[in-house]
Symmetry: C2
Subunit: 380 residues, 2 copies
DNA sequence: CCCACTTCGTTAGGTAAATGACCTAACTAA
DNA sequence: TTAGTTAGGTCATTTACCTAACGAAGTGGG
C-alpha cells in the first residue's frame, strides 16, 4: 500500500479525534489551507479510508459536507481471555461497535478460580470462529488486542510466545491473520475507563481493581504506564503486612485484599446469632447494605485496607483521580470507606466508582486495538 | 526574534544531542541533504547560536569543519534553595559549566533542621548578586530553575507566587529578568542522576532519596513524572505504620524513615557497654562499617524499612532501575540491605547507589534549565 | 614531490507540497 | 427576489526540500 501524504495523515488524525467533521473545521483546527485539506481528503477517499456522511445545515452560507472514517478503513478485534468468561468485541475503525459476544469458560480450573489460559483460549477460539462470519463486509481486519489475566512482559506475541503457556494459548485461539498485541487485563479496563467510563477527559488517573484478584493500572496523558518489563501496577505482589514487627509474606497483598480472603476473614468473625456467613462478595455487600452489623464491619474494615493501597498509589503518583473497579472495588459501600482513609492525606485527589462492569476489559482491548490500527495508518 | 526554519530547528536539536558535530554527520543522522544542512547551519550561525570549533583530521578526504553551540546561544542558572546550604550553577547552552558556587544558610531555623524558605532565599540572593558579575559575556540568560525543598504545586512562578511564602522567597532572591521555573529538589536530583549520574541512558528509573527527609521521584523517557498537582513522589506523606492492627500516623513515613528518628531509635536500643550512641547518620554508618554490632543492627533494620518503600515503588511502577540517594540512601551499607528486601519480589529490578553527592540537586536544576531553554529555542 | 583518490562544501537546477488569491456554488435572512 | 455569507474548486506562486555536478582540501602511494 502506497504511503499517505503528510497532510492526509494530519487530516485522518483530526477526523479520528472528531468522529465526524467538515473540511473547513479541519482546515481551521490544523492550520492548513482549504485546498490542502481538500486534496488530502480526496486522497483518503480514494483509498476508502473516509467517506461523506451528510452535511451541516441551518448555518448561514453554503452548507458544508460532513466526513467520517469509512468502512474501507476496516475493523479491529478486542479479545478478553478471562478466567471464568471470555469476551470478543469488534469495532469499526470509525469507533462504532460492530458486535460484542461472550461465553463462559467451563473447565475444572476456572470453577476453582485458578487461571488456566489454555482452557479460556479454547472457549475464546470457538467463540471467535462462530462470530467472525457474522461480521460481513467491514473492510480489512487491522489489529487484534488480547487481554490476559497475567503479567504481560512482552506485548509483541512473536517474543512472548517463546513462553510455552502463551504459545499454547495463541495456538488454541487460532486467530485470523492480522497484527496482534497482548495486554494485561487490568490495563485494558483502565483504558476503557479513560475512553468510555468515568475517567473520560482526565489527563491522568490511576485505576485500582479489587475483586477476586487485585491490580492497578496507571494512565498518563492517554498512555498506559507499563513499566520496564510490564510489571507496573502488579500490586498483588507487594509483601504484606508491612509492619515493623511482623514478617511480611511475599504476594501477601493479593491474599489480603482478594475476595477469597475477605470472605474467610468475614466468616471467622461471624457471630452465630446472625446465621450463616455470606458465601460471595456480592452477598456480603448486599447484607451490609441491608444493615447487617457484622457484614458492615467486614466491609468497613476491607474498605480501610483498600484505602491504604489507594493512599500508597496517591502518595507516590499524585494521579488526581482514582477509579475503583472490579467486583469488590466498584461497590458503592467501598468507595465511602476508601474516601475516609484518604481524608488523612494532604494530596488533592478524587475517587470515582467504575460504572462499566465486567465488559470493561474487552472494551479497553478494542479501544487499544483501534488506537494501534489508527496509529499505524497515520504514522506509517 | 524571527523564527527558525524547520531544518534549522532539527539541526540545532541534533547538535545539542551530539555536543560537537560536522555537517556531514548531521546530514546523515537527520536524513537531510548536505545543502539543506549547510543553509540551516548558516542561519544558526547568523543568529550566533552556533559557531565553528575546529575540524576533524586524519581521515581520508577533505577534512570536515566541526560545529558547536555558540556563546551567543546564552546561558542558564540552576539555583538550589536548600535548608542548610544554597548552591548556584551557571551552564552555557552548549552544556559546559561556567561556574558553581555555594554558601551555608545561617539562621536559627536552619540549624534546627526546619525549613525556612526566606532565610535560605536571603543567602541565595546574596550569593547570586556576588556571582553574576563573574560570568562575563556568556550571552543572554535564557532560563532559571529554582530547586525548592517543598512540594511544587505550580512550576510557573506567576501562579505559584500567589502563595505568600513563595512570593517572599522570590522577592528575597531578586533574580535577574529571565524565564523562571520552580521545581522540587528531589525531582532535580533525579534529573541529575539521569543526565550525569548512574542512571544515564536509562529509559526510565525511580530515585529514592533518604536523608534528613525522605522523598522519591520518577523519570520516564527523560521526563519527570510530576503528578496532577506536583505531589508525585511525596512518599513522606504516607501514613505509617501500615498495619492491620495499629492506627497509622499521617506523615508517619517521614518520621519513620528520616534521619532524626533513625538516630533516636538507635540511641534507645544502644547498650551501655558500647559507650555513647552516634549523634549523626554519618557516625552511625561509620561505626557500622567498623563492625560495631548495635550500629550494624540499626543500619540493617533501617535498610529493611527503606527496602520496603522501594518494594512498594517497584511493585507499583516497575521502573527497572532504582537509584538510592541522599545522605543515608547513598551509603553503601544501605544498598545491600535494600537489595535483600527486594529479593523476595519477582519483578526484575536493579539498585544503584548515587555517586553525585550534595550537588545533585543544583546540577539537576541547571540541566532542567538548559533543557527548557533549548526546548524554547527549538520548538518556538 | 607528484598524482590518484576520497570526502567536504557550494552552486545550480528540479520537484512535491502547501499557500494565497480568486471564482463559482449554495445556503440564510430579510 | 436580493444581499450577505460560507463552502469548495482552480491555478500560479512560494517554500523547502532534493539530486547532480564541480571545485576545494585533505590522504596515501609511488
Amino acid at each position: 500500500m502506497t504511503s499517505l501524504s503528510t497532510s492526509a495523515r494530519a487530516v485522518l488524525a483530526e477526523l479520528t479525534r472528531r468522529g465526524r467533521a467538515t473540511r473547513p473545521q479541519i482546515s481551521q483546527a490544523l492550520g492548513l489551507s482549504k485546498p490542502t485539506v481538500s486534496t488530502a481528503m480526496s486522497e483518503l477517499e480514494e483509498l476508502g479510508l473516509v467517506r461523506e456522511d451528510g452535511s451541516v445545515q441551518g448555518h448561514t452560507g453554503r452548507s458544508a459536507l460532513l466526513w467520517r472514517i469509512g468502512e474501507g478503513a476496516g475493523h479491529v478485534l478486542g479479545v478478553d481471555v478471562g478466567v471464568t468468561r471470555t469476551r470478543i468485541h469488534a469495532h469499526a475503525l470509525s469507533g462504532e461497535r460492530l458486535l460484542g459476544v461472550s461465553r463462559d469458560v467451563t473447565s475444572p480450573a476456572s470453577r476453582s478460580g485458578t487461571a488456566d489460559l489454555t482452557a479460556s483460549a479454547d472457549a475464546a477460539g470457538a467463540l471467535l470462529r462462530e462470530t467472525l462470519p457474522r461480521l460481513g463486509d467491514s473492510g480489512p481486519l487491522r489489529q487484534i488486542v488480547i487481554a490476559l489475566p497475567t503479567v504481560v512482559t512482552d506485548r509483541d506475541p512473536a517474543a512472548a510466545s517463546q513462553s510455552p503457556e502463551v504459545h499454547d494459548m495463541l495456538k488454541a485461539l487460532s486467530l485470523p491473520q492480522a497484527p496482534l498485541l497482548l495486554e494485561n487485563n487490568v490495563n485494558c479496563a483502565a483504558v476503557a475507563e479513560g475512553n468510555l467510563g468515568v475517567a473520560q477527559g482526565a489527563a491522568q488517573f490511576a485505576y485500582v481493581q479489587a475483586g477476586v484478584r487485585i491490580g492497578a493500572a496507571l494512565v498518563l496523558g492517554g498512555r498506559l504506564l507499563r513499566g520496564a518489563s510490564g510489571w507496573a501496577g502488579e500490586v498483588a505482589h507487594l509483601p504484606f503486612p508491612w509492619d515493623a514487627g511482623r514478617e511480611p509474606v511475599p504476594e501477601g497483598l493479593e491474599r489480603f485484599l482478594g475476595a477469597e480472603d475477605l470472605l474467610l476473614r468475614t466468616a471467622a468473625a461471624w457471630p452465630a446469632s446472625e446465621g450463616e456467613p455470606p458465601t460471595s462478595a456480592e452477598e456480603l455487600f448486599r447484607r451490609a447494605g441491608e444493615g447487617c452489623p457484622p457484614a458492615q464491619r467486614a466491609v468497613t474494615e476491607h474498605a480501610t485496607q483498600v484505602g491504604r493501597l489507594v493512599v500508597a498509589v496517591v502518595a507516590l503518583l499524585d494521579p488526581g483521580l482514582v477509579v475503583l473497579g472490579g467486583g469488590v472495588g466498584s461497590n458503592p459501600l467501598l468507595v465511602q470507606g476508601v474516601q475516609e482513609t484518604l481524608s488523612t492525606l494532604s494530596i488533592p485527589v478524587e475517587i470515582r466508582r467504575s460504572g462499566l462492569g465486567a465488559t470493561a476489559t474487552v472494551e479497553g482491548a478494542a479501544v487499544l486495538a483501534r488506537e494501534q490500527a489508527l496509529h499505524r495508518l497515520i504514522h506509517a
